[in-house]
Amino acid sequence: MGIEDLQHNFLTGRLEDLVKWARRNSVWPATFGLACCAIEMMAVGAADYDISRLGMEVFRASPRQADLMVVAGRVSQKMAPVLRQVYDQMMEPKWVISMGVCASTGGMFNNYAIVQGVDQIVPVDVYAPGCPPSPETLLHAILTLHEKIRTGEITRRSGSTAKVGEQATGGWTPAVPDAVRVATPR
């Protein structure tokens, strides 16, 4: 029986605010830089566009210790199962920012090799457009995520922690669609 089951009175209302404040002020990203967007993500971590002021400069190597996965770059067919596995290893509460157009929709690479949008594999909270998004855009995306945490429910998505193979709510499945993987005739 966790916080989710409490009926909110003035004490627990403040408690929920406290929990959300703690969660959004120390979101630790997992290192998932793939391509050019990763360089901009590192620039955000560096001195000029410091994310340390948001409490996020610790890029945890282990997904078990991370809260946020910033999918920075294009996800190829070979990388998709790895992405899903890293996402599954993260502990709740976890969020995903899809950084750049390649992660959001496949970007300029509409071909056999790139997954057309990482939301076919993991549920995404914030999409950051750009090729690559400038560090200001990524900071805006992170602040949007903080807003989402601040105003959202503590229990974010019910049933979305279902493992691969189980029926998840919302009807989306994490399997990569066949149409993208099989040779398409001209």
């Binding site: 290192t31 990763a38 360089i39 620039a43 001195a47 190597a61 071909n111 690559p132």
Partner: protein, 479 residues
Amino acid sequence: MTEHDEHGHEGPEQPEEVELSDERFVELESEVAARHEAEERQLVAETSEGAQELAPRKSTSAWELRQEVGAVLRLPEGGYVDPSDIDVEERDDQTMIINMGPQHPSTHGVLRLMLELDGETVLRTKPVIGYLHTGMEKQGEELTYVQGSTNVTRMDYLSPLNNELVFSLATEALIGIELPPRAVWIRMLMSELSRVASHLMWMATNGMDLGSTSMMIYGFREREMVLSFFEKTTGLRLNTNFIRPGGVAADLPDGWEDDIDVLCETILARSYEYDELLTGQPIFRERTEAVGSLSAEEALALSVTGPILRSTGVPWDLRRTMPYLAYDKVDFDVIVGKYGDNFDRYSVRLNEIRESIRIVRQIAEMMPPGDYRVQDRKVTPPPRARIDESMEALIHHFKIFTEGFRVPEGEVYVAIESPRGELGCYIVSDGTSKPYRMHIRAPSFVNLQALPLLLRGGLVADAVAVISSVDPVMGEVDR
């Protein structure tokens, strides 16, 4: 014997107690072992990269075991090596195959390494790549030559202007046009600044991998200066799409000489600070000297180019030996190392930053006036203002941006010196406005072949430092 509880239901069946004889015990044990082995084999076959992974020692061919001692490079023609002759201690039960990546904190992208370890010593290494394969060569066949540089620029994303440069040079060689001098010099300026940015990024990540977080911050701080110059000139920090067939996309902004002046001064002064931070520091020296050594013959045999080849003592730099653009008109030194170890690669790259700053200063003094792109209206779009006035300009603009310009039939291979080595572009054209086949010879793809040789015999803790000093960019490795 079943038990009944008070409601008359049968309880769970208790297993029968059986006395196992010795023979039956041994039989069962071997059955279990056989089942485990079958499962293991099945597990290996079911993973998606079964054949690309490193197989255990007992099922590895003699060729691959020979590679471990670098024997493949030194064998005479037709020589055969008996696996039992290999002078590596065959302690089969004590070697361990571990997997590094593709997601790991060393910031070199999605490279997966399978290492065979004997204790802490690395024996065999097998890089598994392809985790960033984007189909860029196929995509290049779908995009026109005007759009081609947007595709190519995302390969080596640390120095994007060099990719655009090689693609544009190849296209112009097929078309047969000659560029105005200002376009050539602007290209040289951007290419050298791109080299500075790439090497600064390398110093940052290399420092971080060896534990110096300050170096990471300093490298990015300097790099931001170069990137803000790029943003002022090209509009974008990364993936600029600035160098296009026919010249460059726009002229340099006003006041660029002052910006370059400040940039050169600052970066040069700070590069001497890096000497204080890293070069003289005993821990850094101990961790990088004599680690990951490569000899010149091995480097040439493995087709390794760039700072790695120069660190082994071979003075091969395409800017000096096969000059392109206007590199024969500027004065710079080719930095050459001696032992081919991590420290030599570090010092080659650090000094290349200084040499590039020297070149940039000379370009700023010698920049010729004139057009920034060739005036042939069939290749270069007309200025936007003229579209309102002239019908012909409108037609040219329309044709170039929808259909693209046609390139005569032929094939060409052009190579430049990128921060990682020889970056080549091989284009086959069939007379239409799209390349028939565009192949990019990526230096990191070829340099990664040296990795098993560099890591062999070293400690696993040095693996990250050696990978970092090879400087692979997975965007161009996997394309």
